[in-house]
Amino acid sequence: MHLFLLTLGFGIVTAAVLSLASVGLSLQFGVTNYVNFAYGAYLAVGMYMTYTCMTAFHLPFLIGAVIGILTAGIVAVIVDILVLERFVKRGTSGFFLLIVTFGLQLILLNLAQAIWGVGFDRYPIAQGKPLTIGPFSVTVAQLEVVGVAIIALVAVHLLLTKSRLGKAMRAMSDNKMLAQASGIDINATTLWTWFFTGCLAGLGGIALALNTVEFQVFTGNSFLFVIFAAVILGGIGKIYGAMLGALIIGLVVGLSSLVISSAYNVDVAFAVLVIVLLIRPQGIFAIAGKA
């Protein structure tokens, strides 16, 4: 029982990391209506900009993290303006957009690897002893990850429900043509969406780096299928679904390490993904027909 609760704690931390990245991916999918396979690269940008700020410019972690998050957001916007938007404007079908983002994945990850190298890195911050809170045993960094994830998700919720921009995003997600006809500036909304997606990805990347301690450029990309599993489980494009999906996948992945080696984390997520696709391909939350 003790071991179960201990693993449950790790599962919650994984779920927190996962929820940040999944909400970002789902938000972008909902508004733009295509999957971005280059998403793992944005995680790497957030992760490594923070690292560079800390090691090269000796900035404190918090400032480094803010710079990392904003850089990831700006990179996402630049990539959208330079590449993706041109294909969307021309009415390229979903097929080819997937190939384009697949190509972008190759370009961005290799670019990041050319800049930051192949090896494993870690943030120069003290890991600290694991704290024991009730049955759980977590590091301070992991606690912070959970806290930040909760704050970020509440912020996303407020953004979507209270702000004009959030409402515009939800309108575009429901029906792009109708949103445009109602006078929503869909270009600006799309750009803002990419910015928030990139920021959430960057934040997710930093959280992932804190959780795994050692990271490299491709760490985010190998995490991508776990993110996809969470997003599809919640119904692709559904933000609250993505949160729930992240919680489920995070707990399943965490608890599965009781039974099999944690080297198979991605495989467990994939197994869940396959089961979901076979039983309920539209996801838990999706309305039938929309998925």
Binding site: Y34, V35, F37, V83, R86, F87, T92, S93, G94, F95, F96, L98, I99, V100, F102, G103, L104, Q105, L106, I107, N110, L111, Q113, A114, V118, S222, F225, F228, A229, I232, I236, A263, Y264, V266, D267, F270, L273, V274, L277, L278, P281, A291
Partner: protein
């Protein structure tokens, strides 16, 4: 001189192999519209199975482990590799080809590929993990006793013969009723279904046939290099095949040939021999990957139909009379690209 011939023969072999990959992917994507983002996994399974088929049993005490080790003659190893790739194609198709939207399909293929990559890499007992198989016996080499350069030439001819056979098969398939049905499902799944076609079965056929083709290419690869490790079949290698198909022009095998020549031979293989920069050994492959990604995006942006566009099907194009040349102006019935 002998070295030059050997080098050209090597490039020739790579051309044939990539051509087979591109034709296989063309059957999956170009004919039937299946977004297979894990082409290279079929190559790897074909190669590994042929490898463990033709290698002798694993010797205990050498720290090298692999399954089977059947010492099969090469034709049987080839069949083993091709069939294994086809079976894997079927299994992935079982999940991916249910009526899912195309992005789910792409995610499932990509995820399946990365799962298999992890499984093969982490389990040293299957194909010796990240170390990979080495010393796979080459066909005819034991009989002919040739120098390496001459052997490369012989192998090039062997690969070219197999490539031609597959090319003819793929073209027959394109013109056959099954091939037409595949293209119909590519253009519009619902319309094909309304005409009474079992689209799931048709797409599954394309998936499996394509996988078998790529698997045969994989068998040739492991015979030629005599070794294969997971580092040789990462996601970026999948993208080289995609680049070949897209640059050449999808949907027709001529495009696949041109594409594999341009991308796989000129672009990819020729740059492999560039000297690496001191202290940055991974920079050249990184730049190559960036260029291949950019090449695909630019092609899709400025010439989405590729170097050799697919010929549009024309009405009344039946070989009833010899007056083919007078039919140039007939009505175009179906648009290939959308």
């Amino acid at each position: 001189m002998a070295i030059l011939i050997g080098y050209l023969a090597t490039l020739g072999v790579y051309f044939c192999i990539y051509n087979i990959f591109a034709i296989g992917l063309n059957i999956q994507f170009g004919y039937a519209g299946i977004l297979d983002f894990t082409v290279i996994t079929f190559m790897a399974i074909g190669a590994y199975m042929a490898g463990v088929g033709s290698l002798g049993p694993a010797q205990p005490g050498t720290e090298i482990y692999y399954i089977l080790g059947l010492s099969l003659p090469w034709p049987l190893a080839l069949i083993l590799g091709a069939v294994s790739a086809g079976v894997l194609g079927y299994l992935i198709g079982l999940i991916a080809l249910r009526r899912l939207r195309s992005d789910y399909l792409a995610i499932v293929t990509l995820a399946a590929g990365s799962i298999i990559y992890g499984l093969v890499g982490n389990n040293t007992k299957i194909f010796d993990g990240y170390e990979g198989l080495v010393g796979v016996p080459q066909p005819f080499n034991g009989v002919l006793n040739l120098s390496p350069n001459t052997y490369d030439l012989v192998f090039m001819i062997f690969a070219a013969v197999i490539m031609l056979l597959l090319w003819v098969l793929a073209n027959r398939l394109y013109k056959s009723p099954l091939g037409r049905a595949m293209r119909a499902t590519r253009e519009d799944l619902d319309v094909a279904e309304a005409f009474g076609k079992n689209t799931y079965r048709i797409r599954m056929m394309a998936m499996v046939i394509g996988a078998v083709f790529v698997g045969i290419g994989g068998v040739l690869t492991i015979w030629f290099i005599t070794a294969l490790a997971p580092a040789g079949w990462g996601t970026s290698e999948t993208f080289v095949v995609w680049a070949a198909l897209i640059v050449g022009g999808m949907g027709n095998n001529k495009g696949a040939v041109i594409g594999s020549f341009l991308v796989a031979v000129l672009f990819n293989e020729a740059t492999r021999f560039l000297p690496s920069i001191n202290g940055l050994p991974s920079l050249i492959p990184e730049i190559r990957n960036i260029c291949i990604g950019a090449l695909v995006i630019l092609t899709l942006r400025f010439r989405p139909q590729g170097v050799f566009p697919e010929r549009k099907a024309k009405f009344f194009e039946l070989p009833l009379t010899g007056r083919g040349r007078e039919r140039e102006h007939e009505v175009v019935v179906t648009g290939a690209e959308e």
